[in-house]
C-alpha cells in the first residue's frame, strides 16, 4: 500500500450520512444549552463595561465592535434562531453558516475579557464542517456513505486530538518539562475542589502520579486516530476519554462540554434512529403481555461493519 493510498484511506474513510444528522442535532442542542446553563457568563458580558474588553488579535484585525448589551443579545438571538432549523435538518447548510458566523462572534465575546478558554476548538471545527456536509442527511441512514463526510469528521477528530496532544506540549512550554513534578493539581483543587477531590489534598503523592498519567495519556491520544480500522479499540479509547472528563468534572467542576460534543463524531451515531426507537418503544408497550422485552443495543460498543 503506497503512502498516497494510506493517506487517502485515512482522510476519506466513508462515513454514513446518518451520523451527520445526529451531529447536527447534538451541535444545535449544545448551543441551546450553553448560554443559560453551561456558560451563562457569556450572556452576562452584556452588562460588563466596554473598558474591560480586551480585543484579541482577530478582534483588532477584523472590525469587530466592542460588545455591548445589544451586540451580545443580538448575537445570541441569531445563534439560537439559526441553530433550531439546523438541528432538525431544515436548510442545514444555510443555517449552518449563519450559526457558524454567530457562534464565532459569540466566542469572541466570551474570550475577550482576559481569559481564553480552550474547550471549543473542536466544536467550532464541527460547526464549520457541518456546513459543508450534504443537506439530505437523515437520522439512522446507514446505507449512504460519503467520503466528504468522512473527511469532515476526520478534521473534527484531529481537532479533538490536538486539544489533548498539543495541550501536553503547551504544558512543557509554559510549565517546563517539570510540570508533572509540580504542585499544579494541588493548586487546582485548592481553587476549585469538590467533595470528590478535596480529600486528595492529603495525598500529594497521588496527585503527583496523576500529573504523570495525564501527560502520558495526552501524548498518547493520537493513537485514537491511528486505530481507525479497529473500531472496538477506537470506541474503547473514546470511552476512556469520556471517563476522564467525568472524573475531571467530579473533582474540579470543569467539563469541557463543547469538546465532548465534538468528540461524539467518533461514535457510530448513525445507528440511532429516533423514529425506529419510538416505534420499538410503542411495540414493546403494545406487546407487553408476551413478556418479551427487546433492548436497544448499546451503540457505542458495537463493532463497525
Amino acid at each position: 500500500m503506497s503512502v498516497r493510498t494510506a493517506v487517502n484511506g485515512f482522510f476519506f474513510e466513508p462515513v454514513p450520512l446518518g451520523r451527520v444528522a445526529a451531529m447536527r442535532f447534538l451541535a444545535g442542542l449544545y448551543v441551546w444549552i450553553e448560554w443559560w446553563a453551561y456558560m451563562p457568563f457569556i450572556f452576562g458580558h452584556r452588562f460588563v463595561p466596554g473598558e474591560l474588553y480586551q480585543p484579541l488579535f482577530i478582534g483588532r484585525v477584523l472590525p469587530l465592535p466592542t460588545p455591548d448589551y445589544w451586540l451580545v443579545t443580538g448575537t445570541l438571538v441569531v445563534m439560537l434562531a439559526a441553530a433550531t432549523p439546523m438541528m432538525f435538518g431544515y436548510r442545514p447548510k444555510l443555517f449552518g453558516w449563519i450559526l457558524f458566523a454567530a457562534y464565532f462572534e459569540w466566542m469572541v465575546i466570551a474570550n475577550s475579557y482576559g481569559k481564553v478558554d480552550h474547550a471549543s476548538f473542536g466544536f467550532m471545527t464541527l460547526l464549520l464542517v457541518l456546513c459543508m456536509m450534504p443537506s439530505h442527511a437523515k437520522w439512522g441512514d446507514r446505507e449512504h456513505r460519503s467520503e466528504r463526510v468522512g473527511w469532515g469528521f476526520k478534521l473534527v477528530q484531529l481537532a479533538v486530538v490536538c486539544t489533548y496532544f498539543l495541550s501536553a506540549w503547551a504544558k512543557f512550554r509554559y510549565g517546563g518539562f517539570d510540570w508533572a513534578n509540580s504542585g499544579v493539581f494541588t493548586w487546582a483543587i485548592i481553587r476549585r475542589g469538590t467533595v470528590f477531590s478535596n480529600w486528595l489534598l492529603d495525598f500529594p503523592g497521588l496527585l503527583h502520579a496523576a500529573q504523570w498519567g495525564m501527560i502520558a495519556f495526552e501524548l498518547l491520544t493520537p493513537v485514537v486516530l491511528l486505530v481507525y480500522r479497529w473500531k472496538r479499540v477506537q470506541y474503547a479509547i473514546v470511552a476512556f476519554l469520556y471517563c476522564f472528563h467525568v472524573a475531571v468534572f467530579a473533582s474540579l467542576g470543569i467539563s469541557f462540554l463543547p469538546h465532548l460534543v465534538a468528540m461524539a463524531c467518533f461514535l457510530p451515531l448513525e445507528r440511532i434512529d429516533p423514529r425506529e426507537i419510538a416505534r420499538k418503544t410503542k411495540a414493546r408497550f403494545t406487546r407487553r403481555d408476551t413478556g418479551h422485552t427487546e433492548r436497544e443495543p448499546e451503540p457505542q460498543f458495537e463493532s463497525g461493519a
Partner: protein
C-alpha cells in the same frame, strides 16, 4: 486539496502551540493548567469583594457581575496598576442588579495557602491587592 487544507490548519494550530499566545484565538496554545506550581510556596486564590452603600460586604462573583474570576486574574496586572478600573466591575454589578444598593468599595483579595512539599501547612494569609472607593462627589 482537502488534505492540504487539513495540513494548513494543523500547521497553524501546532505553530501557535509553540510560538503563539492566547491572542491568536481560535488558534491558540491549549494551555489549560499548563503552569507549574511550586511544591513549596504559596498557592493563591483570588476573589473580588465589594462594600455597598449600606455597609454590607459581599463577593462579586461571576453570577452577579458577568465577569469571571479567571478574567479578573487575566487582567489583574491592569487593576493593580490602575485601581480606578475596579469601578467598571462595580458598574457591571449595578447593570446586572439595577435594584440593589450601589457599591462604594471594590477590593481584589488574594488568599494564599502555604504549601510545603505539596502539603498544605494550614498557614493562610489574605492580601488586598487593589482597592477602589467611590468619591463622594462622583
Amino acid at each position: 486539496m482537502r488534505v492540504s487544507i487539513t495540513m494548513v490548519v494543523l500547521a497553524l494550530v501546532t505553530a501557535t502551540t509553540f510560538w503563539g499566545a492566547d491572542d491568536f484565538f481560535p488558534f491558540a496554545p491549549f494551555k489549560m493548567y499548563s503552569f507549574s506550581k511550586e511544591l513549596d510556596g504559596w498557592a493563591g486564590s483570588t476573589r473580588v469583594e465589594a462594600v455597598n452603600e449600606e455597609g454590607e460586604r459581599f463577593s462579586l462573583t461571576e453570577r452577579i457581575t458577568g465577569f469571571r474570576r479567571a478574567e479578573l486574574e487575566g487582567q489583574k496586572g491592569r487593576f493593580i496598576d490602575d485601581p480606578e478600573l475596579l469601578r467598571f466591575i462595580a458598574e457591571a454589578y449595578e447593570n446586572t442588579n439595577p435594584e440593589k444598593p450601589e457599591i462604594v468599595t471594590v477590593e481584589i483579595i488574594e488568599r494564599r495557602y502555604r504549601l510545603e512539599d505539596g502539603h498544605q501547612t494550614g498557614e493562610v494569609i489574605e492580601v488586598v491587592e487593589a482597592t477602589w472607593t467611590r468619591e463622594d462627589d462622583a
